[in-house]
C-alpha cells in the first residue's frame, strides 16, 4: 500500500477576509477550495496553513510532516518572516519537500530565492480570456488534460517572465490581449521538485475549474519526495588508491 502524500496548502488569506467580493468567490479561502479538492481524491493527507497563524502555520513540526507545500500569496509577500522562508527553502532543497507555487506566488520570497532571478513579468488585470496549451504531452502533470483548456477570466501574466529556463515546460498560456506566458513550469532544486502554475487570480473562480484542480493534483503527486539516503557532502576519503 502506497503511503499517502502529506500536503499542506498555504494561503496568505487576506483578500478573502477584507474584500467581500472575493470572500464571495472563496468563502473558505483559496486554501479551502484547493484543500477540498485534494481531500476528495485518494492518496492525500491534507492540511492548511495561513499567514496569520503562529509561524504562519509552518512550524518545524508541520514542515517536517509536509511532503508537498502548495503556496498562494499576493499582497503580503514581505510579511512572511525570513526565518520561515529559510526553513521552507531548506526543507525543499535539502530534504526534498515539493513546492507548488500558484499564480502571484511567482513573487513570493521562497520562489524568488529558489530561482535566483527577479521573477518579474508583465501583467494586466482585465479579466480577459486565457487558454492554456499542453506542450509536454507525456508529462505526468498533463495527465487527464486535453490539448488545451480555457479560463474565461484571468489576470494576464506575460513574457518575459524572469525565471531560469524550466527543467520541463508543461503549459504555455495564450491571452486574448496578445501575450503568451510559460504558465506551467517544473524545476528541480537540490532534492526538491518545484512546479509553478500561473492561473489563479483571487477575483475569479479559477480554483473551482476542474482542469486547474486536476493540474494541481497531478503536480502534487509529481512533486512528492523520492525516498533515498541523503547525499553525503563535505570532506571525504578517496575510494580508490591514489598512487
Amino acid at each position: 500500500m502506497k503511503e499517502a502524500i502529506r500536503v499542506t496548502v498555504w494561503n496568505e488569506f487576506l483578500h478573502e477576509k477584507t474584500k467581500p467580493e472575493i470572500a464571495k468567490v472563496y468563502p473558505e479561502g483559496i486554501h479551502g477550495a484547493i484543500a477540498k479538492h485534494l481531500r476528495s481524491r485518494s492518496g492525500f493527507e491534507v492540511r492548511t496553513a495561513t499567514l496569520d497563524e503562529p509561524e504562519h502555520g509552518l512550524t518545524d513540526e508541520v514542515l517536517k510532516g509536509t511532503d508537498v507545500l502548495v503556496w498562494w500569496g499576493h499582497a503580503a509577500h514581505e510579511k512572511v518572516s525570513d526565518a520561515v522562508v529559510d526553513k521552507v527553502c531548506n526543507r525543499i532543497v535539502s530534504e526534498g519537500m515539493g513546492f507548488i507555487a500558484l499564480h502571484s506566488a511567482h513573487y513570493s520570497k521562497v520562489f524568488k530565492r529558489l530561482m535566483g532571478t527577479t521573477c518579474f513579468l508583465k501583467w494586466r488585470e482585465a479579466g480577459e480570456k486565457e487558454r492554456l496549451w499542453v506542450v509536454a504531452p507525456g508529462h505526468p502533470i498533463a495527465g487527464g488534460i486535453s490539448d488545451c483548456f480555457e479560463l474565461e477570466h484571468e489576470e494576464m501574466y506575460g513574457e518575459h517572465f524572469d525565471i531560469p529556463s524550466p527543467d520541463e515546460l508543461v503549459f504555455i498560456g495564450w491571452f486574448k490581449g496578445g501575450e503568451v506566458f510559460r504558465s506551467g513550469c517544473c524545476f528541480h532544486r537540490g532534492l526538491g521538485k518545484i512546479f509553478y502554475f500561473q492561473p489563479g487570480h483571487e477575483t475569479y473562480p479559477t480554483y473551482y475549474n476542474q482542469n486547474v484542480l486536476k493540474v494541481i493534483e497531478n503536480a502534487v503527486r509529481w512533486a512528492a519526495p523520492v525516498k533515498r539516503p541523503a547525499p553525503v557532502r563535505g570532506n571525504v576519503q578517496a575510494l580508490e588508491k591514489l598512487s
Copy 2:
C-alpha cells in the same frame, strides 16, 4: 487501485545460446533475469520477447498491450526488421509507450532513430570497475539508491557519447581506466519517455546487482504512459474570431 504496468522485456537472446560462459551467467537469458526481478515487485505484469520469435515477439497485439518496453541487444541490431522498428518507434512517440534501452541497446535501431544522432561512443572490454554516481538526487529513477554504487566488472563506455543532451541526467559513470560516461539518461520523445542505462555487458552478472535492478524497476515506473487524450494535429479551425 492503481493499474499494473504492463512490461515487455525484450532480448536478442543470442549470446546466451551460443556461448557457454554467458549461458552460465544468464541461464534464463538476460531477459529472464530482469523479468524475474520485476515479477517479484508489486505493480507489474511482465512478459518477455526475443529476436527469434515471429515478429521478434513484438506483434501488434503485444505492443498494444505493452506500457513499457525494456530492450537489450548487441550483436544483432541489424537483424531487427525495419517494420518492427517502425511500429516500436510509433508506439513510443505517438502512443506513449515507455522504452528502457539497456547497455549496448545504445546502438539499436530503435534508440538511434529516436535520438537522431550516431549514438556512437568509446568502449573497452577489460572487466574494469565502474562506479555510478547519482547527479539528480530528487529524480524518481534514483529512488532507494545511495550517492554511488559500484560494479566490480563492467565494459567501459566512454565520452563523447553521441546523443542529444538528456532531458534529465541521473547517473554519471566513473571507470577505473580513466573515462566517464553519462550512464543514466532520460529523454522525452513525443508522448513517450525513454531511459538509457549503460551497465549490463553480457559476460558479467550485472543484472543480478540489486542497485541495477532497482534502477530498472524505477525507470519502468517512471516511463509508464500518462493517460490523456491523444494530441490533435493537422488542419484546425480558429478558436477565436480572426477579424
Copy 3:
C-alpha cells in the same frame, strides 16, 4: 581577422515558379530574399542551392564548403533524395555544420531525422496575425530584437508541435486565432547546432521583415561550427592502470 561563415541557402523553389502570386512576392525566390540580406551583412560568404539542381545543389563539394545550411521546403519534401539527406545529416551531426530549418522545413526529411519524432503540428492558413515573444532575452539569437514583434499575416502553426524539448527555447508565437507555438527552438545534435524558426509561409512577405531577417542572421552566426579536433570513438586503450 575572423573568417567568414560560409552559408548555403537552400530552397525547394517550386511555388515561386508555378504560382504567379508567389512569384510576385519572391521574384528571386525565397532563397534569393534571404541570401540578399545575408550578403548585405558582414562576415558571410553566401551561396544558394535548389531542388532542381543536380544533387539538389548539395554536392559533396558544396556541403564540405558550407558552415551553415539554411533550408526552406514545403511541397516537395519527398523529392529530396535519401542520399542527399544522409549526407546533410552526417555533415551536421558528425562534422558540425549548422542547420537552420525555416517554417515548413519542420516536416523536411532532414529535420525529422534529426529530431526522431513526427514533427507534426496544428496548422491553419488564414493569414492571421502572429506575434513572436522573446523568452530567452540573453540568447544571441534574440540580439537586436525587442520584447516581441508582429507579422501581420502568417500561417498558424500550433501546439502540440511534436519535437523533443528544445535545448534552448528562444521565441514563443501568439496567434490571433487562439493558438501558441514554440516558434524559435535551438537543438544540439552531435557536433551540429540546429535552429528551427517558424515564420515564413510562401504567400506572405515574411522574409523581407527586418526582425525575421535579423533572427535568421543571428541564427546563422550562432550555428557556425566550433573548431576542435573530431571526437575519437570506438575501441580505446585504458588511460590509467587497470590493476
Copy 4:
C-alpha cells in the same frame, strides 16, 4: 569591427599574500595569471579587482564597464559585502553581464544566490589527477579542446554537487580517487550567462595550463552580453482588443 569584450578578473587575493608556497605559484596572484592570458588574446579589454580594494574593486563604474566578470574566491566569501553582491547579481540578471565562477567560487555569495541551492559538494585535497572530458563537443566553450585533458594535480570536487541542472553541461571531471564532477556548467539567469568551471585550487599551477586558459577565454567570449532593448515588465496595456 567587433567591439572588445571588457573583462574584469576578480580575486579575493589572500592566499597569495599570506602563504609563501602559493605566492611562489602565483607571484602576481591568480587574477594576474588569468588576466595575463586574456591580455595576450585579441578582443579583450582586461582589468583586475580584489577583495581589499574599496568596494572590493567593484564600484558602480567598474561594474557598468564590465561585460564579463571572472571570479575566484575561497577563504573569504563571507567578507564580500552584501551590497556588492546585490549589485553584481543585479548587473548579471537584469543587465546581462557574464559571470565566470572559478573553482571554489561555487561557494561564493554571488554564485549561491544565482543558483538558489546550497552549492555544496564533496571535496578532498590530495593533489590527485583529474581528467576533464568534453560532453558537448559542439559548444563554443569546448572550442580548441580535445576529447579530454589532464591536470596532474587538482583538488577533488565530487558529486552530488548541489546546483540546478546546468542549461548546458560542457565538461565532466574524472578523479583518480573515484569521483566524478560536473566540471563545466552553463547557466542562463535573466539576461546573464554564467559558466562554472571547477579546476583551480590555489596550490597548483592550474591557471597556467593552456587548456584551462583556453576554456576560460572561450567562456568569456560566450558569456558576453547580447545587445538588445531591456525587457519591459510590470503593468501593460492590451495589444489586442479585449472584446
